[in-house]
Amino acid sequence: MNAAEKPVIVADSLIGQRIQKKDAPEKAAGKTRYIQDMVVPGMLHAKILRSARVHARILSIDTSAAKALPGVHVVITAADVPDQQPIGVARDHLPLKGERVRSLRDEIAAVAADSEEIAEAALRLIRVEYEDLPIVAGPEDAIKPGAPLIHPAPLDAEGRPKTLPPKTPVAFAGKADNVAMRFDYTHGDLAAAEAESDVVVEDTFQLHYVTHCCMGVSGVIAEFDASGNLLMYSNTQVPFLHKREFAEYLDIDPARVRIIQPPIGGGFGSKLDIYPFEVICIFLARAAKRPVKMVFTREEEFLASPTRQPVLLTLRSGCRKDGTLTFRQVHTLHDNGAYTSWGATTPFVMMQTFSSLYRVPACDYHTTVVYTNNPYAGSFRGYGNLQATFAIEQHMDMLAEKIGMDPLDFRLKNAQDAGEVTGQGMTFKSCGFKECLTTAAERSDYRRKHADNIANRNARGPVKRGIGIASMLHVGGGAKIYPSDGCGTILKLDDFANVTLITGASEIGQGSETVLSQLVCEELGLPISAVTVVNNDTAITPWDVGVHASRTTFIAGNSAIGAARMAKAKILAAAARKHDCDEASLDLRGGFVVKADSGEAVVELARLMRSLHFSDKAELVMTTFYYEPPSVHQDKGFKGDVSAAYAWATQVVEVEVDTDTGIVKMTKVTGTHDVGRVLNRLGLEGQIEGGVVMGQGYALTENLIVENGVTRNPNFRDYKLVTAPEIPEMDISFVESMDGEGPRGAKGVGEAPSICIAAAAANAIYNATGVRIFGLPFTPEAVYRALRGVTSKPHWQAWKPE
């Protein structure tokens, strides 16, 4: 190619385009191998025996018949693993229970056998003798004086409390009461703020159990090599935290633990903790000296995977006649279940919404997390924010009505702006909240419909229409919970200008591979197809804290951009040297090094890469980058700018309420999200639509019924997920606030879309019927009863321990 023929390279930006998901062709062809599909040569199959009682002392366990069954390799109980250590957030949970069971999910024994069928047959041969204990069936029972203790201190042979060294974990030392955790936050002068309020409302809200219902059930494969190094095939969302935890657990160097993450059949926060089945699988593999695979049944998935945190919440809110919010006071009671997982820590997120979604001069927040004999709650998309938003946004409507103000105007008056520093120390560098409010309201014709629906409440016919609005604030730039909230990237270009992007970020179906590729290609002027993503092996990928807190696009995105920019600088410097020009005048576009101003091709990138490689001073382009967001840890008072950016959204929900049957039909959702900037429009829409429908399920259909510690509906027949014909019309729009720290201006969005739906639905039902419902879900029965005034309003006396 001589100088006169050099083409001009024109390439459109990839940002904001509809980019197809990289792994979609494999998945649509059924070729993707999930953990459930994996076969490791020589592997055994494992099953767990769970408790038959809700709360009981274990008197004896007899595994002799199970051990004698042909095909059974190993049967273990707590007695076989004297080295087992407690797991979980509060170190109150031993994977195998030897002396006491505290919930129906409790693991008593486990079998590794030649087949699943043999393992199941072996479980049926294990005999357990129990002595029943009184059941703590709900959080209010847990705090009653004289309530049975879930984790009583162990006694010595004479019946006296054992003397134990300080800092002995709860699993061994017990707990003198049923309080697992406390959270107390305050800003402003509550008494003064209340005194200047013209209107105060106080209500108790009840949030129910739901669970993730990942379409792929939980599973893990564990194996040790001949040197005792552990390899796990795991669907964890936090591989690097797990690597460390398992190493500590086994008292081996973390370098000896390797975690490979096969494609995952759904995450949604369910795989953020370390769970007994994973530890038990390791025990079995260690004992059997064979790879061991354990996969749940769907029933087991319902019974023994975490739930969303159920909450009893009393909220007092006040405002002045002019519509200025004055204060919020919150007391919540969290049912921890029998053990402490991430659900107990949802107050971290809940208090952000109470303190900072709207400008509120005084906020007083208290949570008591208590042990019961119920299933335990974990982390779940939205992380407490659905619960907090449900209460707040109903109160916003109620206060507005009391002072005679339009609910949208009331919100706009109190909504946050960019530049605000909240009482909790969150700094809103970008904030499209008001634009979300006005956009969603306009697109849905909220004001007119809201007024019309009230006017039509007494019109003939059983079906009443309603419209409701709710908004949310959530972390959108990571969340500094761990010592680092960062992510590492290794990037290399081959001789043909193809990129291998090695990232710490986990793909859980959300599309991280695609958006990270997109960001890299935008820097390097390459097509998406030029990128291969490696993201599933702790022995290869650089560290990342995990896929949670809507952080991956923001954190891993910035990390990928950092590595790509370093590569670009290297490439342009080399091109400038070889072609005798100023590197600042060069750019990468369409697979070429080009003149930045004219787009004229200087050299094909692949050719340049080869000329670097195959030269006397052979050189490859490989870069590494670690991105740590400029956020800070909260102090002991829960104050601090914990995220590098914050995401906002407003969702308007429209419903039809059949007052004869109580059936609520969600007809339309208008959602406007401040996403910073649209990167992959297709993936973004998918996240939001999926989140909206998950929120719809939370509001209307899903209900894990737990009675006296027993889960009554552990199956899809009785636990109703939303199906295709039930989905609302969805109008999704975006506010691009161009966050200064975000990758190309973007902020996190993964959790946001599910957060407002239940709150907006509650407001819509009220708009339709004039009846406010304070508890979820809005099943036909619940709505029917509420419409006829035969529901007792949730009530709870705000409580703090002495």
């Binding site: 062709p25 649509a28 062809a29 070729k31 219902c213 998918g686 199956n715 899809f716 027949r717 199906t723």
Partner: protein, 157 residues
């Protein structure tokens, strides 16, 4: 421990003879005996549709069918569809429309969608939604799946 039974059937157009336990489901046979893992276990009781296959042209939850009941029948799984040029447009529509996230429900969705298209080539969105009612998806909110199937109707409208 259990009784084996010899069965013969057409699997994705190829004659297949296998010995299966009489208690085994068609799902377990496909996954564990034949080794085709595209058909997924989601619930084991016919509620989620992840194991949807076609038997003599009808869609069936493989978890609710005994393996021995496959004897003499014509079985098509996602692997069969993946090799069938007639289904290319449908799979491509799933990719193009963003109908795939975690992808675990996708094989069952694609098999069910192929059935909808074959039996009702002019299906509208409401008909497609009804047709997909037995297939649960936790990621997408169904909209993009419906869009994908609708676009594949009549080769796109």
């Amino acid at each position: 421990m259990s009784l084996k039974h010899d069965i013969e059937f057409a699997l994705n157009g190829v004659r297949k003879r296998v010995a299966v336990d009489v208690t085994m489901t068609a799902l377990d046979m496909l996954r564990d005996v034949v080794g085709l893992t595209g058909t997924k276990y989601g619930c084991g009781e016919g509620e989620c549709g992840a194991c949807t296959i076609r038997v003599d042209g009808q869609t069936v939850n493989a978890c609710l069918m005994f393996a021995v009941a496959c004897d003499g029948h014509d079985i098509v799984t996602i692997e069969g569809l993946a090799a069938d040029p007639k289904a290319d447009a449908l799979r491509e529509a799933f990719v193009e429309h963003g109908a795939v996230q975690c992808g675990f429900c996708t094989p069952g969705m694609v098999v069910q969608a192929a059935h909808i298209l074959e039996t009702n080539p002019n299906a509208d969105a409401a008909t497609i939604k009804r047709g997909l009612e037995g297939n649960l998806c936790r990621c997408t909110g169904y909209k993009k799946i419906v869009d994908a199937v609708e676009s594949a109707c009549c080769g796109g409208r």
